[in-house]
């Protein structure tokens, strides 16, 4: 084992933190708030430990020096590499992790088994970050399982409700099939090339290489909710605790999408073909996501379908960027990814706060939020308006960037895509706006104003301030998005 220790420290820290929290919960009677604060501190510590790698990678990007690595590439070893895309996504998931941990300080209070919640959350984050940082296929599989298994448990966390268990079971079955398919794909690639270390551009021409890549595509595609592999997603997002839905929708599924693209490129799939595939699938994602969201009565399921649609917008932009070699389109797609993480995180957390205080699950039950929980109504409204792409919020900037970056392709497919995109964004108003209207409508029966706990208010405020900042000053977010466009760097 050699290389830069800074790279492995965040991972080790999170893993150790997860075990420590599990142990603490087992040995002592700890209050939920204490565990939540510890989790937040662990995530913050992870962010701090990530900082040196970020700086190193920044210099590496500008001076063309090799990227930070850690570990060895021999079979059975673990190789990590600090690619810019992975670091940005790691930072994003840890930041959202901090918000979610603080939020859970109040949100999970009524759950009896909160002691297991925090270690699972940290393990899920560890798995995700490992997946992003690792540079060999076998460990990719291992980390993917490390991310998924806590995910199954967390989705079914509220096991006293049948629907949560059902959703968790569905996610478990489909997710296991997906990871097994990935394993099969990895085996096939290993058989063809005799290698597991990425990048592996010979894979596509190796015997059975294409089949292996297809298996990887299916496996990761399911994890990122690409239509028609999305069927687990509305149930899982709809039934999981809102904090977990925020994590799944905001970071995990979108990171796996990026990973899917990076993996395909590093395995030698031509960017043009991958782009075409993404554009084709994006139409399905947008249209199905929006059409299904229109008919939903449950707020979280609606948000879940909106995630599918938003993934479609991203795939369209990324597909255009790859197919026509337009870096601006890639940037626009990643800008949407970052903005979406903020907005969808905020939407799910606001929804959770409504549920916590008023037991609102259906859209109609959100009436009167403005009188009961004014701050939540504002943050929820802000998130929804942002997702709907209403200026001046970040969603609109993303829309503008995507359209403006796509047009120079001068291709019929892009024009058709732009038309579908615009029609879809119009369709989406059909479910975002009634939701906003309900938030600000008078309640059906007289209700008193509730005091929103600081544990919930703080992350919501931080997220809304960040959203406003990104909306009014998209430049910084765009710089982060530019890091993500270095997809080919391993």
């Amino acid at each position: 084992m050699s290389g830069d220790l800074w790279l492995v420290l965040p991972l080790a820290w999170l893993l150790a933190g997860a075990f420590a929290l599990g142990l603490i919960g087992r040995l002592w009677q700890v209050r939920n708030a204490t565990l939540a604060s510890l989790t937040a501190i662990i995530c913050l510590g992870g962010l701090g430990l990530l900082w040196p790698s970020l700086i190193q990678t920044h210099t590496a990007l500008h001076t063309a020096t090799p990227l930070l690595t850690w570990g060895d590439a021999a079979p059975g070893g673990l190789l990590l590499r600090a690619s810019p895309a992975a670091l940005i996504l790691t930072g994003l998931s840890l930041s959202l992790g901090v918000c979610i941990a603080v939020y859970s300080g109040r949100y999970m209070e009524r759950d009896a088994r909160y002691v297991t919640y925090y270690p699972l959350l940290l393990l899920m984050l560890t798995g995700l970050i490992g997946m992003l940082l690792t540079a060999d296929l076998f460990n990719l599989y291992l980390f993917c399982e490390l991310m998924s298994v806590p995910g199954y448990v967390l989705v079914a966390f509220r096991r006293h409700t049948d629907t949560a268990v059902e959703a968790g079971f569905k996610y478990l079955v489909l997710g296991s099939v997906a990871t097994l398919t990935m394993l099969l794909g990895i085996t096939l690639i290993y058989r063809g090339t005799g290698q597991l270390t990425l990048p592996l551009p010979t894979a596509v021409r190796a015997p059975w290489g294409r089949a292996g890549i297809a298996c990887l595509l299916v496996g990761l595609g399911l994890k990122s909710g690409i239509v028609p592999l999305h069927t687990w997603l509305p149930d899982a997002y709809g039934r999981a605790p809102s904090s977990i839905s925020a994590m799944l929708a905001g970071v995990i599924s979108k990171s796996t999408l990026v990973l899917l693209i990076r993996l395909c490129l590093s395995l030698g799939v031509p960017a043009r073909d991958l782009g075409l595939l993404l554009i084709g699938l994006s139409f399905l994602n947008m249209t199905l996501g929006n059409a299904m969201a229109l008919g939903q009565r449950n707020t979280k399921r609606l948000l879940a379908y909106s995630s599918i649609a938003q993934a479609g917008y991203m795939m369209f932009a990324l597909g255009v960027g790859l197919r026509y070699a337009l870096p601006a389109a890639l940037e626009a797609g990643f800008f949407l990814l970052l903005a979406h993480a903020l907005l969808k995180g905020m939407a799910f957390l606001s929804k959770g706060a409504c549920h916590f205080y008023t037991d609102a699950t259906l859209i109609d039950q959100l009436r009167g939020t403005w009188t009961q929980l004014p701050l939540v109504a504002v943050t929820f409204g802000l998130a929804l308006a942002g997702l709907a792409g209403i200026p001046p919020l970040a969603g609109f900037a993303a829309k503008w960037f995507i359209l403006a970056a796509g047009l120079p392709a001068r291709d019929g497919l892009v024009y058709a895509g732009v038309a579908i995109f615009l029609l879809n964004s119009l369709l989406a108003l059909g479910y975002y706006l009634p939701l906003i209207v309900r938030l600000f409508s008078p309640p059906t029966q007289a209700t008193a104003r509730r005091a929103l706990s600081g544990w919930m208010a703080a992350p919501l405020l931080v997220l809304s301030v960040l959203t406003l900042f990104v909306s009014l000053q998209p430049g910084i977010c765009l710089t982060c998005a530019r890091w993500l466009t270095h997809l080919e760097m391993w």
Partner: protein, 489 residues
């Protein structure tokens, strides 16, 4: 100095709105005065720009914003902008002052005034923006602010549904505009309108036609031209009166500004010529349809709302003539219409406040009880039907004579005679409410003096602008050389 003023116009009300929101309940009591001060500052700054414009400058400012996407924050004022800028600032001030009487102060007043100012910022920002991205941001800001005002402070149970209808309808129009903006952005490779005006760029003929169609349809939604007007009567009826005043008097004309700023300034006469007759036709249909609906309505607020559809028809007709007189008349009509429409809505608001009724059948004979309001209503009604020497006569005259300069004499004759319908609904409105027998059970309560004072001020303004229109003519005429690539000189 001018650059400071340029920044002041949108940012002072924006800051005031933010302050009002931040202080929320604590600022509720003082909100109306602070908001009035913000609106007054904007109007003052707008007039302070005049000397610079008269000396031939076009004040503009460029600030970096999103360098990564080559988007700058550009504000700019020229003679095309000014009439609209003055109208919006004045209407915002009038609506704010009117709210002092109309709006019952409560703990949410701060938010009401903040949104009112944001609505104004949306409009002044739209006119000042010299950047495609910024233009669209402000363009939608006025929609969001007005929609929230209707949603939270509107009258009646159905306000949620109506706010939704208003949003979706106008947003569809905005999306058409957005596509047009993006094509322009793509053509010149920058989002600067200055670059679009200065540099040579060309679109394929088919694409140019498509873009022009999108622009015209998109802006006509905002202007509420038949059959794209469906959002207007409901939104105007449900909105609280100050918001209705801003919607009808200022926001509708944003569509006109859009047409002048994009299709008319960026494309040549040859490219626009095929659209002229369709614009005239749409204007004519809208004029007659709006007037007929206003004649048939019983709800006093809806009568004035439909009259907006009709009046926007005149403006579109004037634009469609594509000649000097017609376009100048259309610009003038924007200003006059703003005054007269604000006046009529204020009168309607006074009547509703005094009697608690809004059905024409239940009203009548208020002349004795509300003498001042009656005089204002008479001035407003006579003005909108185009009686000299009141304001609107001037602009209608020019629009009609612009029509007769074109080859489409039949359309012009029809428009001229169509204006007779205005006489019917305007006199029916004023006559039924203020003259005749007063229903026995109709009681009249006193109205806040601020509302009456604001109404009287506008009535006076209408007479003054009708008698001494030289300044307004001058403003409207100076913008003309910027249009149709200079073909109007």
């Amino acid at each position: 100095m001018e650059t400071v003023l340029l920044i002041v116009i949108p940012s002072v009300p924006l800051l005031v709105a933010l302050l009002l929101t931040a202080f929320g309940k604590r600022a509720a009591r003082a909100a109306q005065w602070i908001a009035g001060l913000g609106a007054l500052t904007t109007l003052g700054a707008t007039f302070a720009l005049l000397p610079a414009l008269h000396s031939g400058e076009t004040p503009s400012i460029v600030l970096p914003w999103i360098p990564a996407a080559n988007i700058q924050l550009r504000l700019h004022v020229d003679w095309l902008t000014l009439p609209f800028l003055v109208t919006e600032a004045a209407v915002t001030l009038a609506a704010t002052v009117y709210s002092w009487g109309y709006h019952h102060a409560d703990e949410r007043s701060g938010y009401f005034y903040a949104l009112l100012l944001l609505f104004g910022v949306g409009m002044s920002g739209t006119t000042l923006a010299d950047d495609l991205f910024l233009f669209y941001v402000f363009w939608e800001l006025m929609l969001i602010a007005s929609c929230l005002l209707i949603l939270v402070w509107g009258d009646g149970e159905r306000r949620g549904a109506i706010a939704l209808k208003y949003f979706i309808f106008t947003h569809i129009g905005s999306l058409m505009v957005l596509v047009g903006l993006l094509v322009l952005y793509d053509a010149v490779g920058s989002d600067s309108l200055a670059a679009l005006r200065a540099e040579s760029w060309a679109l394929a003929p088919g694409l140019a036609t498509t873009v022009l169609t999108l622009f015209f349809v998109g802006f006509c939604v905002k202007m509420a031209i038949f059959p794209l007007h469906l959002w207007l009567p409901d939104a105007h009826t449900v909105a609280p009166m100050p918001v209705t005043i801003m919607l009808a008097a200022a926001m509708l004309s944003m569509g006109t500004y859009g047409i002048l700023r994009f299709p008319f300034s960026l494309f040549s006469r040859a490219q626009l010529e095929p659209f002229g007759v369709y614009l005239m036709l749409a204007g004519l249909v809208s004029e007659i349809y709006g007037a007929l609906m206003a004649m048939a309505e019983q709800d006093v607020k809806r009568i004035i709302a439909y009259s907006s559809v009709s009046q926007m028809g005149y403006i579109l007709f004037g634009l469609g003539t594509l000649n000097r007189v017609g376009i100048e008349g259309a610009t003038l009509h924007v200003i006059y219409h703003a005054i007269v429409k604000a006046l009529l809505f204020m009168v309607t608001g006074l009547v509703i406040r005094a009697t608690g009724r809004r059905n024409l059948k239940a009203l009548g004979g208020l002349g004795g009880a509300m003498p001042l309001t009656t005089v204002c209503a008479a001035i407003g009604a006579l003005s909108i039907l185009g009686m000299p020497p009141l304001g609107v006569f001037n602009s209608e005259w020019m629009i009609f004579s612009g029509g007769f300069e074109t080859a489409h004499i039949v359309l012009s004759v029809l428009t001229l005679f169509g204006s007779l319908l205005t006489v019917v609904y305007a006199l029916r409105f004023a006559g039924t409410i203020f003259l005749g027998e007063r229903p026995s059970e109709l009681t009249v309560e006193s109205t806040p003096w601020v509302m009456r004072a604001a109404t009287l001020l506008l009535a006076g303004l209408l007479i003054i602008e009708g008698l001494f229109p030289a300044t307004l003519f001058d403003w409207a005429a100076r913008g003309l050389p910027l249009l149709l690539k200079g073909a109007l000189q």
